[in-house]
């Protein structure tokens, strides 16, 4: 199999956050100082990637209201605002990306993560794990049912708070399209105060990470819906011989 005619739209490194963003203090000692080496001609090693269509999922892997029930006979639900987070994974040319793996993780309604290193004052929720995964359907759509995570304080500036957010990981058709981002919630006043959000220079780039309240897809007397579309790098074919 040859991949010689395939390539991806170059990643715009000025659109994404730079490695060194001193306002986010942890990046200072974790950012390379040397320039990235540009691979002018990506190879099969970069142009291919894993296909997770055959990864066996559990029935509630995308339903965080149900997927941490320790005792199925106990009908406990997590505390918090019930929401649906959904959207489409498309490439830069608007082409839907079907059957790709979307993974997410988040804090509970009090802003506490179920992680052995998180020691925040807010309590763990016995009915909430905070992890989900699913494959996009044939139209590139994905969907999770969860609760809205709470904001939480973190040691950066003297009083830094993360806006409510859900971490989102998308594979796409190749390791070249791999992307991890965070979905913020429309209207959250903590977004413009966040040092991690500020690693982005372009306010439009920040807007690409804001999930929008979607009343049409919310369910009366049940849940609100937030729409979050994800755009991954566009795939191109080279049409002409290079000579």
């Amino acid at each position: 199999m040859t991949h010689d005619n395939k390539r991806f739209v170059a990643r715009d490194r000025n659109w994404h956050p730079p490695a060194y963003a001193p306002g986010y203090k942890t990046s200072v000692a974790r950012s390379p100082q040397q320039a990235l080496v540009s691979m002018q001609q990506p190879t099969a090693s970069e142009l291919t990637g894993p296909d997770f269509s055959h990864l066996r999922m559990g029935p509630h892997d995308n339903d965080l209201l149900l997927n941490f029930r320790q005792d199925p006979s106990h009908a406990g639900l997590p505390q918090g605002e019930r929401i649906i987070m959904f959207g489409r994974v498309v490439d830069q040319f608007g082409k839907p990306i079907p059957h790709t793996l979307v993974e997410m993780w988040q804090a509970n309604a009090g802003g506490r993560y179920r992680h052995k290193n998180d020691k925040y004052l807010a309590p763990l929720d016995p009915n909430f794990g905070g992890v989900g995964r699913c494959l996009t359907d044939e139209h590139g759509m994905y969907r999770f049912r969860t609760i809205k995570p709470g904001p939480y304080p973190w040691p950066n500036d003297m009083n830094s708070w993360r806006p409510a957010h859900i971490h989102v990981s998308v594979t796409g058709p190749s390791i070249s399209t791999r992307l991890i981002t965070q979905m913020y919630f429309e209207g959250d006043p903590l977004i413009p105060l966040c040092p991690i959000v500020h690693t982005l220079k372009d306010p439009l780039a920040v807007e690409t990470m804001v999930g929008r309240l979607d009343m049409a897809h919310s369910k009366p007397m049940d849940y609100l819906a937030y729409r979050f579309d994800v755009v991954v790098r566009g795939e191109l074919q080279t049409f002409f011989e290079n000579q």
Binding site: V37, G130, R178, G234
Partner: protein, 210 residues
């Protein structure tokens, strides 16, 4: 779509969704056992090759080190490599003896090493027609890393192939090429390769854009 990147730019393209750090709790979502949480029936993890896989069984290990020389204990790494015949097996299926994709993470304990159980990959063809030296693509995520870092791991017992690899030799500084070359060790009769990833400063690992 109603986000602003839903509108094509002047080049008739959408803008890529922006990257954000995977944060200190990446394990909750992508490495559940490392977070101290229960695992699901099938998890994507670091056993890429089962004992019956064709090829030389190897372990690949290393640390991740920051600009102060300290261990990065919350790094998460993804691997992508060819099988022993130089072919990528894209279909991820845990019932197969070998998968080209794997995940690992540095640990919170003393040594803080990531590790992969795999086989030595075969050589893959470069678009020029030349063969590239055997290698494993590694992608690194961590708290403080705003967009993932992409590198390659090569093998120190492939000196001849390494000297001719069209990707490795594209790195202008010969000294910097050495930052990608894992050192072979034999431990209890088992073959292990070690590569420490240095994020910044002296001996900084080469990271690629592609």
């Amino acid at each position: 779509m109603n986000q602003p990147n839903s509108q094509p730019t002047s080049s008739l393209m959408l803008r890529e969704t922006a990257s954000q750090t995977a944060g200190p709790y990446v394990h909750i979502g992508l490495a559940l056992a490392a977070a101290g949480n229960p695992v699901r029936d099938e998890e994507i993890w670091n056993e890429m090759a089962k004992p019956n896989t064709e090829g030389e069984p190897i372990e690949v290990v290393g640390t991740v080190i920051d600009g102060n020389g300290d261990l990065v204990r919350d790094a998460f790494v993804e691997a992508w490599q060819a099988d022993a015949n130089g072919h990528y097996q894209a279909d991820y299926d845990l019932s197969k003896p070998f998968n080209s994709f794997g995940r690992t993470a540095t640990t919170f304990d003393h040594g803080s090493e990531w590790s992969l159980t795999t086989i030595k990959p075969g050589a893959v063809k470069h678009p020029s027609g030349q063969l590239m030296a055997p290698h494993i693509n590694l992608t690194l995520f961590a708290r403080g890393v705003n967009i993932h870092l992409q590198t390659r791991l090569y093998f120190d017992d492939e000196a001849e192939a390494n000297a001719q690899c069209p990707v490795l030799t594209r790195i202008e500084s010969p000294a910097r090429r050495q930052t990608l070359i894992a050192k072979r060790e034999e431990v209890d009769g088992k073959v292990r390769y070690r590569l420490d990833i240095r994020l910044q400063g002296e001996g900084e690992t080469v990271f690629f854009d592609f």
